[in-house]
């Protein structure tokens, strides 16, 4: 079995791209190899951010590294992504991002004009999200040692008093909302990747969610759990929350907002939009009596016009996600397993 890289007792012998696809392989890499070395109670929660107390104030810290091909895509670029992604990882626990750090790994020969475009877009995204990059680092590596440009950002934010949002806090009866059309980022990226290049107007949804979350919290609404579904799509996020809280979630396919172009592109490629990446969507599990108000506030936000209630938590106990299909069938919805490749035939 050695060559197949899956020795059951010792785990994989080396890292493959499958470990980076956001699904179960990535989860195994983290829990089996990283967690034992860094183990502590905060990390152990495996949330998108670590929450901790300093002198009575509750702070959240998060970090993310951005590697995207192509670097520029309709609706954004790696710069905007690197600000929004980190701001969103803080927002989903209710923390308002305040300060960011940024690290750049740049390939020798990278165009200064492109670099400046990326920096400008970082500046604009940071202004929009009202965060400041207060420390940064650059490294230049030899041609071939990285693909153009990689960016890492970390962010720190403060949690308002009394706000307790975690994927472990979902209750039976909670209503599930999503803040808009799903799958736009993933389709925008793949449609512009070399070799595919099909004609579409689909733009990435890459956006900071901090304002939307602020608005929800400001009127006293208290979602039990929030996440921004990125790699692995809506289906993976719903499963992560279902598992963390041990609940059964039922989604109604007809209620999930998918734009016609994304639906068509998915049909063409053989993709399921529930597994396609987003970069500016909020999934919220809220108490039933707060559902309508949360929906209204999402829809008032410029990035939440197509927000919708898509399902509810049926019961506590079994951790799983079901979908009522458009034609009245019922099926199990799994996490992303493997990676979605365009169909061959």
């Amino acid at each position: 079995m050695g060559k197949l890289n899956r020795d059951e007792h010792h785990g994989p012998e080396f890292v493959t791209l499958a470990h980076g696809s956001g699904g179960k392989a990535a989860h195994e890499l983290v829990t089996r190899f990283f967690l034992p070395y860094f183990d502590n109670p905060i990390l152990r929660t495996l949330d998108d951010q670590g929450v901790f107390n300093i002198e009575g104030r509750r702070l959240a810290l998060t970090t993310d590294t951005y590697v995207v091909d192509p670097l520029f895509f309709r609706g954004g670029d790696i710069g905007r992504l690197s600000i929004c992604g980190t701001v969103n990882d803080l927002a989903v626990c209710g923390a308002r991002a305040v300060y960011l750090s940024a690290g750049f790994v740049i390939e020798e020969g990278f165009s200064i004009e492109k670099l400046e475009r990326i920096l400008l877009s970082m500046k604009e995204a940071a202004e929009e999200a009202r965060v400041a990059v207060i420390t940064a680092d650059t490294k230049v590596v030899e041609r071939g040692a990285c693909d153009g440009l990689f960016i890492n950002t970390s962010g720190i934010g403060e949690l308002p008093e009394g706000v307790e949002i975690s994927s472990k806090l979902v209750e039976a009866g909670d209503v599930v909302l999503v803040s808009g059309n799903i799958g736009e980022h993933g389709i925008a990226i793949i449609s512009q990747r070399e070799g595919i290049g099909f004609e579409t107007e689909i733009a990435s949804d890459c956006a900071p969610l901090s304002e939307m979350v602020d608005a929800i919290l400001a009127v006293g609404l208290r979602p039990h759990a929030m996440r921004d579904p990125t790699r692995g799509g809506l289906a993976t996020t719903l499963n992560e929350i279902a598992m963390a809280s041990g609940v059964e979630v039922e989604i109604e396919e007809t209620l999930v907002p998918v734009s016609v172009p994304v639906k068509s592109a998915c049909d063409l490629l053989g993709f399921d939009p529930f597994y396609v990446a987003n970069e500016g969507k909020l999934v919220a599990f809220v108490p039933e009596r707060q559902a309508q108000d949360t929906l209204s506030i999402m829809r008032e936000n410029r990035y939440g016009r197509h927000a919708a209630i898509i399902g509810r938590v049926v019961s506590k106990g079994e951790a799983r996600v079901y979908m009522k299909t458009k034609i009245g069938g019922r099926r199990f919805v799994d996490m992303l397993v493997g990676e979605q490749f365009p169909r061959i035939c």
Binding site: G195, G328, G338
Partner: protein
């Protein structure tokens, strides 16, 4: 494009069709009706819409051999893995091929340990790579059915015209009608009708399926991929049983004609000719593969590289072969869901999205 799909996903139409299906299923006087969907895209669509549990209990939907990655035998995969290890070779493949286990490795593992394996979306991308890397040998793993073969043929035409000398293919394309015949020849399968592929039929047309009713006495319906398409096909197959008149019908007439796409077929058969070919699960099927014709044979990798492999072996305990013939269902396999999952696939049918085992796994009732 959207117009071609949205109107075939109407829940009201689905309810209407399901009602008609129920009536016919009662009057068709058979304890069990067994239909096979030949194509992997249909398998996935049937699960995605939840059709299996909406149709009456006496209708059984079996999955067939229509997944190009799944039917590629280990011997071809082993050869391509050997090729990928060679100095100067850029090995190009469709993404789904990366994780298919050969006898002792996968392309994903080879890539992680140093081989230059690159995922492409089309054979034309592979040819571009050959143009851009004149000092390297670019080999494309040509898998797929009649839908991909014409593009590969066009790629080789371009390569010939431009005199490109560093581009090769490992020809492993396969033809659907001979595979259907092989499935129908499987003992004890007792199928009552076939849901024939939509994409493939846009190229080969519907007339090629005439042998199904005339020689095997069962109906064949060329079918689209939306919910109403599939339900309507089931309705048509049932109606044929009730009326006792099995024949070929085209439900997917918005894209499929009797004769298919003559231009695509012409270029495909200018470059390729049918040859006997090995299928995972179905074994050697006469005239079911495509080999390069005379002037194009210079693009066949085997004229340039010697990659004779030791005996290829199938993974122990894996039932992919039986699953591809409809003889077994994925949960009949002891490896399914335990030793064999999409993260750590043992058999090819678990690797790709359109593989029967992966479809059963992803849409299974409970997390195991």
């Amino acid at each position: 494009m959207a117009r071609f799909t949205a109107e075939f996903e109407n829940p009201d139409d689905a309810r209407l069709l399901l009602g008609k299906i129920k009536n016919l299923a009662q009057s068709c006087d058979q304890e069990r009706v067994r239909f096979m969907e030949v194509c992997g895209t249909h398998t996935v669509a049937i699960f995605r819409y939840g059709i299996r549990e909406l149709v009456p209990r006496n209708i059984r939907l079996l999955s067939g051999p229509g997944c190009p990655v799944c039917v590629t035998p280990n011997s071809a995969i082993d050869q391509f893995i050997r090729l990928s290890r060679m100095q100067d070779v850029i090995a190009t493949v469709f993404g789904d091929m990366m994780r298919v286990p050969g006898s002792d490795s996968t392309l994903e593992v080879e890539k992680a340990t140093g081989a230059d394996v690159r995922v492409v979306y089309s054979s034309l991308d592979a040819l571009n790579m050959a143009r851009a890397n004149p000092d390297r040998q670019v080999v494309f793993f040509a898998v797929g059915f009649e839908t991909t073969a014409p593009t590969i043929a066009a790629t080789l035409f371009a390569a010939l015209r431009e005199g490109i000398e560093n581009f090769f293919i490992l020809p492993a394309n396969k033809l659907i009608p001979p595979a259907i015949r092989a499935v129908l020849d499987t003992e004890d399968l007792a199928l009552n009708g076939l849901i024939c592929p939509g994409h493939v039929s846009t190229i080969i047309g519907s007339r090629v399926y005439e042998f199904i009713p005339s020689q095997y006495g069962i109906g064949a319906v060329v079918t689209g991929f939306q919910s109403s398409d599939i339900l309507y096909a089931i309705y048509l197959l049932l109606r044929q049983i009730v009326e006792g008149k099995p024949h070929v019908e085209t439900q997917y007439s918005r894209l499929v004609s009797d004769d298919g796409n003559p231009d695509a077929l012409k270029i495909m058969y200018r470059v390729f000719e049918p040859c006997d070919s090995s299928w995972r699960g179905l074994g050697l099927i006469p005239k079911s593969g495509l080999k390069l014709r005379g002037e194009f044979s210079r693009f066949d990798f085997s004229n340039r590289f010697d990659v004779s492999t030791a005996e290829s072996s199938e993974p122990e305990g894996c039932l992919c072969g039986e699953v591809l013939r409809g003889k077994k269902e994925p949960h009949d396999c002891a490896l399914f869901g335990s030793a064999c999952t999409p993260e750590a696939p043992v058999g090819a049918c678990m690797v790709t999205t359109e593989g029967t085992c992966q479809a059963y796994y992803r849409y299974r009732e409970k997390r195991s």
